[in-house]
Symmetry: C2
Subunit: 412 residues, 2 copies
Amino acid sequence: MPEFLKLVPPQQAVEQFLAAMPDPTPETISLETQFAEGRVLAETFHAPHPLPPFTRSSVDGFAVRAADTFGASPSLPAYLTIAGEIEMGKQAALAIQPGQAALVHTGGMIPTGANAVVMLEDTQTIRAGEVEVHKPAADGENILREGEDVATGEELFSYGTLLRPQEIGGLIAYGYTQIRVYRNPTVGILSSGDEIVPPGYEPGPGQVRDINSYTLGAMLRLHGADPRVYGIVHDSFDELESAVRRAFTENDMILITAGSSVSTRDITADVIDSLGSPGVLFHGLALRPGKPTILALAEGKPVIGLPGNPVSAIVSAGLCVLPVLRKLRGLGQVSFKAAVQATLSQNIPSIAGREDYLPVRLEHGSEGITAVPVFGRSNLIFTLVRADGLVRIPAAVTGLTGGSPVDVILFS
Amino acid sequence: MPEFLKLVPPQQAVEQFLAAMPDPTPETISLETQFAEGRVLAETFHAPHPLPPFTRSSVDGFAVRAADTFGASPSLPAYLTIAGEIEMGKQAALAIQPGQAALVHTGGMIPTGANAVVMLEDTQTIRAGEVEVHKPAADGENILREGEDVATGEELFSYGTLLRPQEIGGLIAYGYTQIRVYRNPTVGILSSGDEIVPPGYEPGPGQVRDINSYTLGAMLRLHGADPRVYGIVHDSFDELESAVRRAFTENDMILITAGSSVSTRDITADVIDSLGSPGVLFHGLALRPGKPTILALAEGKPVIGLPGNPVSAIVSAGLCVLPVLRKLRGLGQVSFKAAVQATLSQNIPSIAGREDYLPVRLEHGSEGITAVPVFGRSNLIFTLVRADGLVRIPAAVTGLTGGSPVDVILFS
């Protein structure tokens, strides 16, 4: 049996675990940029040219020399000769001489000589070839200068960046249509326990279907991993050890959900500890649900033992597995967690020294949003099916009072 | 030209638009449940049997008749005969007679006759075949009754449910390994504008690469749509009309990002209005960035015109396209939006009567989280690359004061 360490709060355990984990060196793959959303960039890009690549108008109007519009007003317009129109998508074919203006569209190139654009609504064209300007333009007004957004040589993106739609756009703006991203980490998932049967199997008396492999698989896929379900292993050290070792060899991380009997849990912990050094770093967390979580490292590879109870497995995976997955993906940790602010509907007791996560349903009412606890003594999966998110009750607190404000972290 | 309606706030326009949209009748496809996360269920399920399917123990301990433990304490234990051990995953093979107990593991079946479980730590076995109980057990203590989570016939899931990991688990708990889900809506995306060139093309003077098709495509894929990029169409009514009509016929919704010149925008609006009735419902929203948004319905199909500016296109798509996509997917609207609470770093002016969305970067400091506006006069895509999310400045407000609390909606 591994050494049992004191129960530590989940955040602290995860921080220490991440610090003990070696920096990953994920393989990279080449991907079309347009399909790379949700991937992690494996290259660093510097701007080969400025953005905008040319000085352009931000409005529809007339490109002018600002000095020519000095003091212009509706009663005393500046009269300028129209030198022509700037065609979209073409080099500005003319130059503005003093006393001249050129019609320009939003995004059109500012012609040589001009240094401002007067908006169309501040002008009037009465005679052909001439425009009345009713408002003075300052130098640079309504103009986007070349390089204003990005200067040449500026770092555009660095490796380790999560690609959101805007990063896809930024890469494509520079013509990077094919990029290198990290391969999604593979995660082997095993279930142990003699009472567990596969989903397609009709459970006999005392048996339950394996659902953890699939809730965890879905969760992992939603967070950028490539899960592989290895199925159910029976309660024997040798059988479990050989299945776990195979999954361990074939993946970047493995998750084992332990059956609920003591002997299965013990065997699981022993097998995890046998995989390699340093072995089990945390066995049990000051967390509910999710206490029987095991965090281990074997030859630098994360091996996480999760509770067999499906709700505990999901809560513990959210707190422990997802941060480890981010590290494996080459991403930094999340510093900001979005939450819905709500009012708790009733008192909730909690034990000091243990972090509690309470599933809640959100309800709109005249008083705003209420968080209603979803109780389920049995703590089966339907507790979470009925919930919108979780409320964290910190370890230092002995409960929450009905009517107090709470932050609800929504399930993704 | 379509009739220009008054500029309305985006939420109001979207609500009216959704009300005008017919209820979708999405096609369904069959999918393996384990790979269905993020899909929308197209069937309704009622429980064919209770969950838990049998009465089971929630702890490791001894199954007893509660009455036999009445008054038990460490100094005055109740002595019970051990009738045997309940094997995991098997029918409980014995029945508990008065004065008897059976060893049971967490999740194990409660044998006939027993109505409570005494936790292992509240017992002691000194003589073989006998257990000392040190604590009385109440009727039902540490027992999960058959059907406590779900009763037979109860509705488990209804069509229109978004499948999260827990729903996958709930379906599999009942052995539903293959389910019907809605096909993801297809969305045709077109770009208009003579200055726009494809991503792989080297832009000439005055030209810019098409990035909106790809930022929007990525955004749509992340939200359960199947986007199809139709490419760039030049500024001619006939050319645009024929391309748009083809995309309109082939998809559940179409998006057209207009080029930035007035003539392109006019042609785009005219083409959208020509597709069918009722045509353009909203042309221009009280929104910045994103004002030149067009919301149209043609023969019941949504056709949305988005601004050519990439930041405006993303903001407007987030507010207008995603709710429409939810309806097309057969989902209800989101009632709760998770946000990060932060303190605004500086004063931000805003015009009353218009909803402003301000890109911000989040910074951790000793005082908590600060939202720092990301300015970009040019409003190019890199403004959003540098931002973590958006702060909404309501229409009734003329600006936000530095130091005031703001809700930041993170980009997904």
